[in-house]
């Protein structure tokens, strides 16, 4: 790969040594994308510097940047939100702009957001924050304080007629943060550690919970619901960001104002401020041109384009003087809101806050946890997720991998010597294996393939399990990861984060699924076996379809069907006069949703296997049994099942292993909801590796444990099948 990259780079250099265009990467779509392209065109017109613009899918953007830039293959300038700055800084992919940035030209808070340990990075382009959208037909004066707000909510809410004073995605911490700060809580203590179990936090949660219980806002609000409620005049007020202006129906008269002030504390509800910045790569080929481009994008005409057609809130102060912006009430309102907002901390700690807060918020809103207890719940999850590096001193041999490696090498040598000595009288190798060279040549391609694709990743995975990873540094910790997992350090065994809890869920998941796959598959196979069944071929094809569709597509379809509000399943329940079920808020229903999806995917395999096996049972055995006096049921039990067993047992064992590791369904359907309770071991390992502060070592230890569980399972099944095979 590296050689290929070098070759490409060389050829690129040879083709156009001087006039290589600057590369700009972004993740914009629609109006925002148009705006950036027109701004870049203006830049090229003015400076005659060619720019190549590339739109990258948002999901992969960050990882593309961090892997491409260090190899010199990335962009010269890229556009990203400031939350990732510290990570970019640490990986050394961004160049500082402290000396170049004219601070006075921008809103102070947007410059503040670009600060990492005293250095500034990038040029602020636009900002995002939250404000209150008020339907002026329903509420004439926007509220100044929460007391005023509450009385307005009281007046405009009528839960029975499905009318609400307020709608916002209350389960999302980003939207709850204003309340946290408004009730005087601090998210981070002086040492930079997150703290949840505070008075302010409890009061903020209690306030929001009361909004819901008093019927001022609907339950389980999603972005789509907010939009439809506001546009239909069923929600008088909405908390949202600049993007919401594009979703409002033109017929709705509304105003945007900063969020009100909390009457008890006198503090305003303070939202997070997100700043999008043009960042210059540390490996930019022509740094001066790159900085010129980045700065150009943050100022003047480019800003104007950002406002229209981009509909973004500019960071440049001069932009607010421009005639097209002066009259724009929405942009003015968001500027006022931004003055009250605090930049989202770009610290690594901030990244660890989301999951615990989501847990606490959902728990409170669904009534499973009291607002007072929720902080402690989040605290515990936070502590569990953000494992500190296990200290080496109290763990023998945990400081250096060398003693372990020496012991391993010693063991291998001893084993080899023993094998060698057991061979008996030495025979010269060449005489013992006269055609060794040719044999090796035949075996080599497969051996290399196995080594590269299996042995190497396997060894790396196992080795990784003995390390602790934090922000790019690996430290050897011996068996500490395993010990922490198996003793469920930091949380109770009965909590979803515990290995044992997850193992139990995984085993239940596997058992229930395989039983259903087998039952349904076998049942259908028995029905389809009848040669007199009309349209048999059609049924068979139709029933195999679920298997033929890629499973992530099926998973996403089912996920959609289980949606609380728009899902087909709740639609069906409603049509039958039943209460709709919010599938992913309880363990049992969430687990059931996963099982239903996976059963849909899994039964065709068992059906095909059963059908094949059934057709190999001679018909006259059934006739003999019938004459012998067996009913249909007895024939199934005494003839069919025993004869299917040899064919089905391997499929069942295989099905168990597949289901045990069925990552796609868990990840895509329930996503582990509620609170990680429906996660199975693989999806849990994935979360530790990629969603919880990149604890690769811990995740690898999980994987090793999964490996051992499955190894044990195969040993067990081999014992079960052993006598049968004989």
């Amino acid at each position: 790969m590296r050689w290929l990259a070098v070759a490409l780079a060389l050829s690129a250099c040879a083709d156009a040594p001087a006039a290589r265009p600057l590369k700009l990467w972004h993740a914009y779509r629609g109006g925002e994308e148009q705006a950036i392209e027109r701004a870049v065109a203006r830049f090229t017109e003015e400076t005659h510097v060619a720019v190549e613009v590339l739109s990258v899918p948002y999901d992969a953007f960050s990882s593309k940047l961090t892997s491409a830039i260090p190899h010199g293959a990335g962009p010269d300038v890229f556009i990203f939100a400031h939350e990732r700055l510290r990570q970019f800084h640490r990986l050394k992919v961004v160049a500082p702009t402290t000396q170049r940035l004219e601070r006075a030209r921008y809103l102070p808070s947007t410059v503040e957001a670009l600060d990492v340990d005293g250095e500034l990075y990038g040029y602020p382009l636009s900002l995002k924050t939250l404000a209150l959208f008020v339907n002026t037909a329903l509420v004439t004066d926007p509220p100044e304080t929460t007391d005023q707000w509450l009385s307005q909510l009281e007046a405009t809410s009528d839960a029975e007629r499905a009318r609400f004073g307020l709608a916002y995605a209350a389960g999302d911490f980003y939207l709850h943060a204003p309340f946290v700060f408004g009730f005087g809580a601090r998210l981070f203590d002086d040492a930079g550690r997150a703290s949840f179990d505070t008075k302010g936090m409890a009061r903020s949660l209690a306030f929001v919970k009361a909004l819901q219980t008093r019927g001022f806002m609907p339950q389980e609000v999603s972005g789509a619901l907010v939009k439809s409620l506001f546009n239909e005049g069923r929600a008088a007020m909405v908390i949202s960001g600049p993007w919401f202006t594009g979703e409002i129906d033109p017929s709705v008269r509304y105003r945007i104002t900063p969020l009100p002030t909390v009457s008890e504390t006198g503090l305003p509800l303070t939202p997070f401020l997100g700043v999008e910045a043009a960042l210059v790569s540390s490996r930019a080929s022509r740094p001066d041109d790159a900085h010129r481009l980045a700065e150009f994008l943050s100022r003047g005409e480019a800003t104007a384009l950002r406002v229209n057609p981009g509909r973004q809130i500019p960071a440049e102060l001069a932009a607010y003087e421009r005639p097209e912006v002066v009259g724009d009430e929405a942009i003015a309102a968001f500027r006022r809101a931004a003055e009250r907002a605090v930049p989202t901390p770009n610290t690594l700690e901030m990244a660890k806050v989301w999951e615990p807060m989501k847990l606490a918020l959902r728990g409170v809103l669904q009534g499973e946890v009291s607002p007072e207890a929720a902080g402690a719940l989040a605290e515990r999850r936070y502590a569990a997720l953000n494992r500190e590096q296990p200290s080496g001193r109290d763990r023998p041999g945990a400081t250096s991998p060398w003693p372990w490696l020496v012991a391993l090498a010693g063991g291998l040598v001893a084993f080899a010597v023993r094998q060698w000595r057991r061979r008996g009288p030495p025979v010269p190798f060449a005489r013992r294996y006269p055609e060794a060279a040719r044999g090796l040549a035949y075996v080599a391609p497969a051996a290399v393939g196995i080594a590269v694709l299996i042995v190497v990743p396997f060894s790396v995975g196992i080795s990784l399990a003995f390390f602790h990873h934090e922000a790019g540094d690996y430290t050897f910790v011996g068996l500490a990861n395993f010990v922490d997992i198996l003793t469920s350090k930091g949380y109770r065994v009965t909590e979803p984060l515990s290995f044992w809890f997850t193992l139990a869920v995984t085993i239940a998941w596997t058992f229930v699924n395989v039983a259903l796959h087998l039952g349904i598959g076998l049942g259908l196979a028995l029905l389809l076996k009848d040669p007199l069944l009309k349209l048999r071929a059609v049924y068979r094809v139709v029933l195999i379809v679920p298997w033929a569709v890629p499973n992530y597509i099926t998973a996403l379809m089912w996920k959609g069907m289980f949606h609380r509000q728009f899902g087909a399943i709740n639609g069906l329940l409603a049509a039958l006069g039943l209460e709709p079920v919010s599938w992913f808020t309880h363990f049992s229903t969430s687990f059931a949703a996963n099982v239903i999806t996976n059963t849909w995917l899994g039964f065709p395999f068992m059906m095909v296997v059963s059908l094949g096996a059934l057709q190999s049972i001679p018909q006259d055995l059934y006739e003999a049994a019938e004459v012998d006096g067996a009913s249909k049921w007895t024939q199934l039990r005494r003839i069919t099942l025993p004869l299917l067993k040899p064919a089905l047992l391997p499929s069942v064992i295989l099905g168990c292993v597949w289901t045990f590791n069925m990552f796609n369904i868990i990840y895509l359907v329930s996503g582990g909801e509620p609170g990680g309770a429906t996660d199975i071991l693989v999806s849990e390992a994935y979360r530790w590796a990629f969603q919880r502060n990149e604890q690769y070592g811990f995740a690898a230890a999980y994987s090793v444990l999964i490996f051992f569980v499955l190894l044990g399972w195969t040993r067990l099944t081999r014992r079960l099948t052993g006598p049968e095979a004989a």
Binding site: A624, V627, A630
Partner: protein
């Protein structure tokens, strides 16, 4: 008491009639063999008796009761399948006991009856084996044992010996006959092998094209076949059949003239068993030898005559060779005479007593 009666049984598969109205009565304790060429409907009829096939019309009566709509398990019949249909996942003992267990026979009785049947069939040493560890003859005996232990009122056999080699077939034939004598139960046996039919049956039923041609004791069928088909089917080698015409006291056909008694006239079919014809210096038939089968002290010659192929016996000492032209004469009054279409017998020779 445990007799069987079939009344007007009809059965077709789609548009293809297989059994075209069969009436048949089997007396209690009788060993009835149903023979016929492949596709004559005999196996279908057996399956109808067992209840494995539903009839299109007609009635099956057992011991006087109509069982046409009764499922096989309630008919109290036992059946030995051509493929044996042993349960491959069960040992011999389990195979034998299966039917008894399903009928809730007490454990001790099951063991006793299995042991008895195993002893009768010399299976005692094989009881713990699975079918795939048995030879063909052993499997065959297990299949029979499975019926015997249940003591049904009616035994049904569907070409049970057809998968065995000749020597074993002869041996098993003997055992079957012995079994029937010993148990004295009613048996219905399907085969296409006339030797089995002749040796085992108390009565033989000959089928052709879904129609019962004739039923009766084996020797009666052999000596007094009701029509040309039965005459041709029973006996080995097959009876010679020639078109002939009654002229005075003689039967005249292409290239032969044979004196024959009997009260009939016009065009007929003449039937002569090879055993009743001898190669000799003179005789009414002349033909060229197409093939010779020497069996030792005698043999058969296959001739091409003007009237068609003819098979005759010859003395083993006679130097007969292929290509030779020889003459054949009947050994006395041996002519069977059928109507010209073969449907009716007009006369039979006196059967030797």
């Amino acid at each position: 008491m445990s007799g069987l009666r079939l009344v007007g049984i009809r059965k077709s598969y789609g548009d293809h009639p297989v059994v075209k109205g069969v009436d048949l009565e089997v007396a209690s304790g009788e060993f009835l063999v149903m023979v016929g060429p492949s596709g004559c409907g005999k196996t279908t009829l057996l399956r109808v008796i067992a209840g494995l096939e539903a009839v299109d019309s007609g009635q099956v009566l057992m011991s006087g009761a109509d069982v046409t709509q009764v499922p096989p398990r309630d008919r109290d019949v036992g059946m030995v399948f051509q493929s044996y249909a042993l349960y491959p996942h069960m040992t011999v003992r389990e195979n034998l006991a299966f039917g008894l267990e399903l009928r809730k026979v007490p454990r001790a009785d099951v063991d006793a009856r299995v042991a008895e049947a195993a002893a009768m069939l010399e299976l005692t040493n094989l009881l713990e084996r699975k079918p795939k560890a048995l030879s063909g003859g052993q499997r065959q005996r297990v299949a029979m044992g499975r019926v015997i232990v249940r003591r049904p009122r009616l035994f049904l056999f569907d070409e049970p010996l057809s998968n065995l080699d000749t020597a074993l077939r002869v041996q098993m034939r003997g055992e079957l006959a012995r079994l029937h004598r010993k148990l004295g139960v009613t048996m219905v046996y399907v085969t296409h092998d006339q030797v089995e039919a002749m040796t085992l049956a108390t009565r033989v039923a000959v089928f052709d094209k879904g129609v019962l041609q004739q039923v009766g004791p084996p020797l009666e069928l052999y000596h007094r076949p009701g029509n040309a088909f039965v005459a041709g089917f029973l006996g080995s080698p097959s009876m010679n059949l020639f078109d002939a015409r009654r002229e005075g006291t003689a039967l005249v056909g292409a290239g032969f003239r044979l004196e024959a008694a009997g009260d009939y006239a016009g065009d007929v079919k003449l039937g002569l068993r090879p055993q009743d014809l001898t190669v000799s210096a003179d005789g009414p038939f002349t033909g060229e030898v197409a093939a010779v089968e020497r069996l030792g002290f005698d043999g058969y010659v296959f001739l091409e005559t003007a009237a068609g192929p003819l098979t005759a016996r010859f003395d083993g000492s006679l130097p007969v060779e292929v290509g030779q032209t020889v003459r054949v004469r009947p050994n006395g009054d041996v002519a069977h005479v059928f109507s010209a279409d073969g449907a009716r017998a007009l006369r039979h020779p006196e059967a030797p007593r």
